[in-house]
Symmetry: C2
């Protein structure tokens, strides 16, 4: 088989995989937004069936032959050519899929599906004991998966690599270790400065239809294309990549907390801007797909924190917000901006501020890594969790609902996923740093509500490149330097200094 013909077969194969994946996206979107209650059981069957078709297609024996035949193509000389990029990633997919036995894949699917139901109930009842056996089983199976995939240093590497290719446990541990101390110091300095920020007005009454209207206006301004997307309401917000021109956002509103709806909307909007910015010509191939969860998170966090929590942003939007919500008339721009940047240790990760968020991640990473390496036991996890919370954030969860049972990830088998959240934050800070150097009059643009130049910068350097580079390289290329976690800490320090008027 000629390399060109093999490549063509692989292209068709890749696009069929994308069709199946995008169909699952719609089925899940419907399930989380609209499905009637009794429809859930059959929906699980539909999704399971398409997932099975996808898995079978991924493992197709011909794929190995095509990959081998395509090796000798003219594109070999340049790893940045579309063909080389795609071949590199397809090889990764196929290797992964063939290394893990089908039986194990199905076993994990079954156990995690059940574990999520058990977890939801355990969380509701604050009943760790009922979840403990499931958690043990999930970790055992994921360890088995890691062994099947293989790794250089430790099992965690095999799992993390799936979400953030090229990052290992020890690399992330060194980043986390350095950042942990700095973040703790920052939290201490905020506590010790004695300054209290009033954010009580954010909990006045904000009617949801008006939140919707305001949020839609903001999303449009940021560059989100409503002709290629839409916004729906759900419980746990997420973004849906249902096609090259169909990228949907979901959002949760709280009538009595402005932050909940608005920042989740901008956060998901950031994810969606990435997906809407992918190169449509390469849809269905790695060249036209998001490169990693970390980079994805960098986009959501960039818009949520670096942009929508900046003063410039609110200089433009606050007068408009007041038009929508006259109830804030007595609150100054400055006090509003301080309130949305308030730092305070809290129990729930998804509600954490920019500073403490990282500590929530480090805690989870340390626990799941130690579990995989057999250094701690499942049954001790709640205590370890609480000790670490006390140590890193100075607070102790009142119960496991506010502690070890809060996240869905472990029950869902998403081990090795948490680090991507922190990496996303670090990447985002880097992007903002680079943008503020490279885009003239950035503050001026923000204050005038002009986001096109920023979006265009991200489009060219991140979105349109798909999987051309590995995640770390992609960010390094974009910012013109190596990634340096201390830069993230520096960004936070400056912000704290501004918000709290203190220098740590």
């Amino acid at each position: 088989m000629r390399p060109e013909d093999a490549y063509k077969e692989l292209l068709k194969w890749s696009r069929k995989l994308a069709l199946l994946e995008s169909i699952v996206e719609i089925l899940e979107w419907d399930q989380r937004c609209y499905i009637p209650q009794k429809g859930n059981t059959y929906r699980a069957e539909q999704i399971g069936y398409v997932a099975k078709l996808r898995h079978e297609m991924m493992r197709k024996p011909e794929v190995g032959e095509w990959l081998a035949a395509a090796e000798g193509g003219a594109w070999c000389s340049d790893p940045l050519l579309d063909e080389s990029v795609n071949l590199r990633e397809w090889k990764r997919w196929h290797e992964r899929a063939t290394k893990v036995p089908s039986g194990l894949v199905e076993h994990i699917a079954r156990v995690t599906s059940e574990a999520q139901t058990v977890w939801a109930k355990a969380r509701e009842n604050n009943d760790w004991k009922s979840f403990e056996p499931c958690m043990a089983e999930v970790f055992a199976l994921k360890r088995e998966e890691a062994e099947a995939i293989g790794y250089k240093e430790e099992p965690y590497d095999a799992l993390l690599d799936q979400f953030e290719p090229g990052v290992t446990a020890s690399l992330f541990a060194s980043i986390a270790g350095r950042i942990k101390e700095d973040l703790q110091k920052l939290v201490d300095s905020v506590r010790d400065c004695g300054k209290q920020i009033d954010d009580s007005f954010l909990c006045r009454r904000f009617p949801i239809p008006i939140q919707e209207k305001f949020g839609t206006m903001v999303l449009k301004r940021l560059g989100y294309d409503f002709n290629a997307g839409r916004v729906d309401i759900t419980v746990h917000p997420f973004t849906v990549l249902a096609g090259p021109s169909d990228v949907r956002i979901t959002v949760r509103y709280d009538e009595h907390d402005f932050r909940v709806g608005f920042f989740s909307m901008v956060h998901e909007g950031g994810h969606a801007l990435y997906d809407q910015g992918l190169d449509a010509e390469h849809w269905g191939t790695p060249r036209g797909m998001p490169v990693s969860l970390g980079v994805h998170e960098s986009q959501s966090r960039f818009w949520e924190n670096m942009v929508a929590r900046s003063k410039g942003f609110w200089k433009f939007f606050y007068p408009r917000l007041l038009q929508h919500f006259p109830i804030l008339a007595d609150v100054s721009l400055d006090n509003f901006w301080r309130a949305v940047n308030k730092v305070a240790p809290s129990f729930i990760r998804v509600e954490a501020d920019e500073v403490t968020y990282g500590l929530h991640i480090v805690l989870r990473f340390e626990i799941e890594r130690d579990l995989l390496n057999g250094r701690i036991l499942i049954r001790d996890v709640p205590d370890i969790w609480n000790q670490k919370m006390k140590e890193y954030l100075g607070i102790k969860p009142p119960d496991n609902k506010f502690g070890v049972l809060q996240d869905v990830h472990w029950s869902a088998g998403l081990i090795g996923y948490f680090p991507t959240y922190l990496l996303g934050n670090i990447y985002a800070a880097h992007l903002m740093e680079a943008i503020s150097y490279q885009i003239a009059l950035l503050d001026d643009l923000l204050e005038r509500g002009q986001f096109f130049t920023i979006l265009d910068w991200l489009r060219t350097r991140i979105h349109l490149l798909g999987c051309t580079y590995r995640p770390k390289e992609l960010i390094s290329q974009a910012i013109g330097q190596e990634i340096d976690p201390s830069l993230f800490v520096g960004y936070l320090k400056r912000k704290i200094a501004e918000v709290y008027g203190v220098v740590s």
Copy 2:
């Protein structure tokens, strides 16, 4: 292979087909209710891909072997056993699928997909000439399909059989012929009686959220389960069978015509009650599926016309309607009931009243049958249409938009579909007749808004039986007599006499 094992394989195969079909249902539902505009192109690819998977599965060579092996099962002796029912229908499916060459199936899919786009534009621009070549191609291809499938008397049989198994063109022609004259006489008698019914108040302002509220209340009363369904807004209403407990309705509201939203909601509600009443235990097999389009239409028309246009129904609901729409306070129950039963020839089928509706169908049936038999030419269809309209309904369409271009069916390749609409009406009248004999105090139940006994009657005799009997047999069994089209005419005559106070 043992018959039992072959049957088991067929069961799995049938349930996979149902999974694929139900996924298409959701993709189409989303496309017609929620998809962002730019998402349509890729959605067509997604649907096309699943349709292809379904077609491949339908034609699987093993299926023929399983069917042959299952022939000798213990169930052979009784054609009403679940196994016998399923095997009979599976055989039909598989024969049909293998008789039509894949190339032709794909050709038809491509041509009808394009033809629908051309048709939509032609209709908008009232431009028959631009659609004529597409129509010619569609009819030529469908004739080819009919030849591939085979028939006893004429090509039309092969197409009609797909929608209404067991009904042939000549059988339907004899029904249509008898009914045509009777309906024309009825239309004449209404025109000649000189009585004008005022329905202008139905075009007052009916705010859509209140229409929604009222309609929801009615649907709940009729027995529609909102935990296994939902109502969404679309342009051309339809019902979605997305799973054994997921049956959705779509509806179109007109703020200035109460009839549009309300009767489409009850119509689709009737379809949905059928689907929600299927035997869930047999989901994914013919035994648990609707038997034909004609029987499906009988359910929608039964609830829409026999129930929701009856006086008893409004005796219960009219006071409630007035609570929702005080704007009708000056309209008496009697005048309201007359208005929703007004008979008047009109151009558009979907807006036609109960009496003239049948004439619209007969006209279409005659044209498509003559086309397939080569008795008329495509280019003459608009003139023939207009002549028939003049002859049957006494009115001549002002242009082709109000004439030959109004329906999507021919562009979509749905030839042989129209008869099922009229059959549905005939079946519905029969069901009402039987119900009014068999259910004691029926009027009393209607007037008290009690529909459970009626629904239960339909559940036991129609819904729960799935494909146990062929359509005509099913209805005959349910009503305890042979189907007699003149009974439908009799029903209409009585209604007209009541509404107009005339006897024809």
